[in-house]
Symmetry: C2
Subunit: 337 residues, 2 copies
């Protein structure tokens, strides 16, 4: 399929005037979704804690401040959530602690956000808004080290860090609340997502973020290992997937993979970024031991099940995504570092 | 193998003067383990919250009060745990919220005890006692509805209630801390465990408890459904397994099943109990809807992997276990209702 900036989604009118809440709505994916939904005419509430180490950034919604309802609060704060969740037709539950390393250094905080707050959100929905459609953003991290490739949803889950365990528990709560309490939930297991608005200050959200920053600052990209294969989804493709999952209430509550069937090695990715940037260099170094222990080797996803159920495909080519992202940060780096 | 009240364990001298801590040590299994360890000459600390709805009961250690160090505290209290965990050679981590129904009614409490406190205990061990051997009591509940029987450790985990999800997360923390932080952990997935000292006030720990009580009080046993198969382990067999797991540091941190290869239907179990009691009656009723949703159908375990690794077998015959248990509660029912 050719790349296209046109919206590939059917029935954009579905979202007009619809009340939608996005947790983590000032983050990378959450804000991209919020802007798209605002453009589709939805009444969007974004909830975000703006914890400095996480992905939230007010720059992400620049120009949309008057078209979104912005509520700064933490999903661990059940009292504000309880009010905010009422009367929402769709809840995109994207808030989370995303750093694998931080989850090992401070497991209690990861658990509070990725596990306890998730269960609490579902309990609140059950109580105050049992009709809402709930879409939960999970992660491919919970598969652990792949036993076969591409990784489909039958692959055993074997998290290699606290973050993966907590995200798996949160997924299971979402499934359980669908099965036992008849909430309408859907779980998407995201792979590496990249694009404008991602965190580039450090590698907490994705290593591609820090690569972008170093490239634009004229520093060499540090590639650990280099031969590992990874798949990448353009954030706009992920937003398409979220919108499809949000609109289609008859989807199974069993987790779906997103992903991309054309993986690339980290070294090739770095070289492509340098080419697109027109300059830059890379330095291959051995894995730091603290990360080695939680690394997963080669990984790419099979997203066939989700595609068959919804028609979704990751349309945007990697080359275009990277060029687009580099251009964004060339203009906006100051607001992200 | 013939039934035997002799200790089938090799090397009982392993435990002499050894410092051992048991969380949930006033509960059904914990106290039975504590008494056995005291008899083997271990220096035993029992930690228990004595929350009235849980399994702890001071009657369980009657006669052993001077031979055990009893510390009443909650595993959610990290400050007391931090002190208590120091200098223990073996930690039997048995504390937990066990009621599946309570976990659906009050999921936050189940999470705090079965998930957060477990992660916190492991963090504390990593900090103050990284050499300790840690044995964690998990549950067959996290397999969910069996896809095949007997259920071995390759069976997918698919918890059907919040309790199962949280116990699964706790298992995974134990495994992860072995793999990443090199703690010495072992996870046993217990099936239905029965015997003296189990909770008989209600069905929070096991339905067999309330059956025993009703039988002794001259009330009919209420059997829901009746055709479901279940396997049962004598609590003394489970204590054997815990001791083997506690002594054998080279066991895999991957979860092991306990279990019994001769399952029995609930109706047959009730009839056997009536026969052994010499009187009584049963009433078969349909499953209450609140429980129906979290019921798992037929279940029995394959415990071959643990047997191959340790030599453990569930020696005690069900008939003897039930007779023994009925005799215990005939003498002590007052202290348990």
């Amino acid at each position: 399929m050719p790349a296209s900036s046109a919206d590939p989604l059917p029935q954009p009118e579905h979202w007009r005037e619809l009340a939608v809440l996005i947790t983590g709505g000032l983050g990378f994916i959450g804000s991209t979704l919020a802007l798209r939904l605002a453009d589709l005419g939805a009444r969007v509430t974004v909830v975000d804690s703006l914890i400095p180490e996480y992905g939230g950034n007010l720059q992400n919604i620049h120009g949309y401040e008057q078209r979104l309802r912005i509520n700064l609060s933490d999903i661990r704060d059940r009292f504000s959530l309880q009010i905010l969740l009422r009367d929402q037709a769709v809840i995109f539950n994207l808030a989370g602690q995303t750093s694998h390393l931080d989850s090992m250094r401070d497991p209690a905080t990861d658990l509070a956000i990725n596990c306890s707050a998730q269960l609490s959100l579902l309990e609140l929905c059950r109580t105050v808004n049992p009709e809402a459609r709930i879409v939960f953003a999970s992660t491919r991290q919970l598969y652990g080290r792949p036993r076969y490739l591409p990784v489909d949803e039958h692959h055993p889950t074997r998290p290699v860090d606290v973050n993966g365990i907590n995200k798996l528990a949160a997924e299971m709560y979402h499934q359980l609340y669908a099965e036992v309490h008849e909430l309408s939930t859907c779980v998407l297991r995201l792979t590496n997502t990249i694009g404008p608005r991602m965190r580039v200050k450090d590698a907490r959200q994705t290593f591609v973020g820090i690569w972008i920053r170093r490239l634009l600052e004229g520093q060499p990209i540090e590639v650990w290992g280099g031969e590992q294969l990874r798949d990448f989804n353009d954030v706009d493709d992920v937003v398409d997937a979220l919108l499809l999952a949000g609109a289609q209430r008859d989807l199974s509550p069993e987790p779906f993979n997103l992903g991309h069937s054309e993986p690339i090695s980290l070294r090739d990715l770095a070289e492509l970024m340098i080419e697109l940037n027109g300059s830059g260099s890379l330095r291959v170094t051995p894995y730091p031991s603290e990360r080695q222990r939680i690394d997963i080797g080669d990984y790419y996803s099979c997203h066939r099940r989700f595609s068959d159920a919804t028609g979704w495909e990751p349309f945007r080519p990697l080359r275009q995504t990277l060029a687009h992202t580099l251009a964004y940060y060339r203009d906006h780096l100051g607001a992200y570092r």
